[in-house]
């Protein structure tokens, strides 16, 4: 069993300019490996204080992971301090030097001398390639302790940890050759309910592990398998996935980096269907979210924001009678909006969104009441009601997410 400490180096952390998200990321990854993290330490760009922090960490951890301080400036002194502390020499790594030179060549800029410093590594260390920046990482072992040095920028640190340091640790901790993860993404079910439905699977988990996480109305399950071959890892993940989806498959919308929006956009493009929307409480947010996806112009034609009742009637053509009889926050109004915008824009799908976002009641309806209508081709429009309990903008965002989710369900059923 390994005990880890994470030491982040950088005065910008101590000045409160950024939060230590690297420690969060690394801790989360180590939890998957079953490595205990007992302390995080943050220390500034100061050799003496860093040296003291290393001494303290050595007294309580056998895995010490450093982030930051590997860059070209004289403030960057992590590896210099560690080298001195462990009495190891720093040597130029030819591969790293080569890739730094290549980096400057690509930019067509002269490489200043201080950049060579980034290619210095602890003699005898395993060098970790930086695919997203210049400074390489390192793994060094001495007297039963493992020291891992990672660059500070998250976009460099995260892939380096995940693809180079993590497999090394998986092997070291459990004797496994490989570690693989799959994230299952759910919407429309609470974390507690989902956990309840797979309680026995969660209780019995060992390898693969199953880790639930909830945020912004979505729940994810990360399945992580350690194995001696890629095939074995894939099998372990696949059987856990099957067992989970037998129980809660109805709520799963995607995997890994999918989002509700990317999944809805992907299905729209795959099915070759065009879409338009009429939005009231969301005021364009549904369309704007779809427009985040490159290539969406093949399916998203446009739509109307009808924030006021007059706009609904005059711009969209919602019948005044419908509004008089049912109000603007109603199933009937949402359905009219969907049908009218589809007609107007000549699309295959029309979406209508209306509701009371808050902070005050709207048209006699309590805050959080939302009606979503979707009409596809010549079919009857379908409508869904939400009763949300968040603040104004959470409700607006939740309304959009739910619309994406209903759209995904409808599109998935098409041939």
């Amino acid at each position: 069993m390994m005990n880890a400490e994470i030491i982040a180096v950088g005065s910008e952390l101590l000045l409160g300019q950024i939060a230590n998200t690297n420690a969060k990321f690394i801790s989360n990854q180590l939890a998957e490996l079953g490595v205990n993290v007992y302390y995080h330490t943050v220390v500034g760009d100061n050799g003496i204080r860093l040296d003291q922090a290393i001494t303290i960490a050595e007294s309580r951890a056998d895995l010490i992971i450093f982030s930051g301080g590997l860059g070209p400036t004289k403030d960057d002194l992590t590896k210099e301090t560690i080298a001195k502390h462990l009495s190891v020499e720093l040597m130029y790594n030819q591969a790293a030097l080569h890739s730094i030179e290549a980096f400057f060549n690509r930019l067509n800029r002269p490489m200043t001398e201080n950049n060579r410093k980034q290619a210095l590594v602890l003699n005898g260390s395993k060098v970790l390639v930086n695919h997203h920046g210049m400074a390489p990482g390192m793994i060094y072992e001495q007297e039963g302790r493992t020291y891992i040095l990672l660059p500070g920028p998250p976009k460099e640190l995260e892939p380096m940890f995940q693809f180079e340091a993590k497999p090394f640790l998986a092997k070291k901790v459990g004797g496994y050759e490989t570690i693989k993860s799959l994230v299952l993404r759910f919407y429309g079910i609470g974390e507690a309910e989902l956990e309840h439905k797979i309680e026995d699977l969660l209780d019995a988990q060992e390898n693969p592990t199953i880790a639930p996480l909830a945020s912004d109305g979505e729940v994810t399950l990360r399945i992580t398998a350690k194995a001696n071959s890629e095939i074995e890892a894939a099998k372990l993940i696949s059987s856990a996935k099957t067992a989970i989806l037998e129980r809660v498959g109805d709520f799963q919308y995607g995997i890994d980096d999918d989002s509700l929006t990317s999944k809805a956009a992907e299905l729209l493009m795959e099915k070759g269907l065009t879409i338009s929307a009429a939005e009231s409480l969301t005021a364009g947010l549904f369309q704007s979210e779809l427009a985040e996806i490159p290539g969406i112009s093949s399916t998203l034609v446009g739509g109307i924001v009808t924030y006021t009742e007059q706009a609904k009637i005059h711009q969209l053509g919602v019948a005044q009678e419908v509004i008089e009889r049912h109000g603007v926050v109603s199933k009937e109004c949402a359905m009219e909006m969907a049908v009218r915008v589809k007609q107007k824009f000549g699309t295959d799908i029309g979406v209508g969104l209306t509701g009371a976002a808050g902070p005050e009641m709207h048209d006699g309806q309590p805050v959080g009441t939302v009606w979503i209508a979707i009409v596809l081709n010549d079919e009857e429009p379908v409508a869904y009601q939400l009763k949300l309990s968040g603040m104004r903008n959470t409700n607006r965002l939740r309304a959009v997410k739910s619309t994406m989710n209903y759209l995904i369900k409808i599109l998935k059923q098409l041939p």
Copy 2:
């Protein structure tokens, strides 16, 4: 001169479930006071390891600030561990007990016995009232060291620090009775350029301090004054503000918690002007951002998302000739969009937004080219060009921010 260490207590931090944003917040606040922060430590809900962390912190800091572990469960052991460490008794604080009881009365729920634990405070400590939760904070002094205990949830910790601990520290560090801040918000100027224009003011700063910060295309300057009276603090801030705005006032759009959107919405409502928008690359984001502001329905009527060329022509009525001659990413098309949507929706102001968000060129225009047009009443439309260099969604967001900024400038000039 005080040296501080921040100790965050909570296993959720070590499991990587959340980042240590409390340390970021407190560090930022301490920087304003001129207090050095040399270390952050994170430790789990474990009495022995927390005790060891306190011993280490005492060897290197004379101000130790704790966050977390003040709640009602048996995992919450920060004050118990500190009490034992310092050999101080824990006593019930009547005011705190009273407010915990009142909290449960308001919720109409019975108070369980373990909640009384939250009213226990270090004997002889200054108790900090929690206006947003149940557990009070504490300031305790012993042998020349100051220990500050704060609750973990940021919405409880932040106001408690700002309004109770910070004035205490301002007095302790500098002998000042009060400390006040004002944030000036700028858009349309880079951080480097802004700093360059007020370089001498930044170099000469002492009291008040002036701290620049840049994020998401905006730059802020936080002016912080320490003084012996509110009036004196306000005077110090006011004269710094005047000196700054003489140089860069053209780029200032708001103060403190203003955002470009809230400021634009505030001015629209104040002037009693209605608005509509026709959006292409932003696909509804401009309208959706405005709709984040409660009460906006008095001014935002609605608008059209014209994502395709056909939608621009058929739904909005942009002349085909304009598109043929100038393209959809052009000054002329943006102006037509603004004028047409204003006419259609019968509003006082019309906004047109078109451009190439990326990742590919659009209509022959390079990625990042954006045209924004605004038309007010019977005036000629005005148009602005942006050349952005971000990724697709950064460009879309930047286009919306710039539109808000131009709108603010136009509205500010009105009587």
